[in-house]
Point group: C2
Chain length 107, copies 2
């Protein structure tokens, strides 16, 4: 199991985090990931109905901004919300956004 | 004195608000406006060093999203943060962003 490259907690940037959170599709992914503390959901099941290039774009925004971490296990990629890092750097931000958006329904 | 067209409190959309807040220049405008409760600053003095088309773009993002209100008095445009509306719709969001950004220095 490998954690995909991601910014450290100290590297998190408020502008990139807000940009990642500003898209409705990404908001629903984040809301869904907020329902668990482990890396339960595969990237495929979180965005199953999108063209691959679109899904890749959204994962890149989420991962490069540091909002979401991704763990690879062979061919399987599972995502998790970096809640502790976000709460440490930007207290209250994630909760404020989550209160305003509805989660995806997965599986 | 005329208030320029803007979305109502009920029309505020989390995605558009986050997008407006995701830009460092707009963040600094918002942080500067957060230092006062009245429409003290003119649009010109808040973004004095930008090409007019760039400044217009930023004001449009701020106003169309509902983050900032603009009052017109003849040729003078003054901006104010819509803090009450933002706090009512997205509690904690503005404070979380403001804690992470530094204000402009105006005048």
């Amino acid at each position: 199991m490998t954690t995909m490259p991601q910014p450290s907690r100290e590297q998190l940037d408020i502008s990139r985090v807000l940009e990642a959170l500003s898209n409705p599709i990404r908001q629903r992914v984040v809301a869904q990931l907020a329902t668990t503390t482990d890396f339960r959901f595969t990237c495929g099941e979180l965005l199953p109905d999108l063209p691959k290039s679109t899904a890749t774009h959204h994962w890149r925004m989420l991962r490069d901004s540091g909002v979401v971490g991704v763990e690879r296990n062979g061919r399987e990629f599972r995502a998790g919300l970096r809640r502790d890092d976000l709460d440490a750097r930007f207290p209250g931000l994630l909760d404020a956004v989550l209160a305003a958006v509805a989660p995806l329904t997965v599986g």
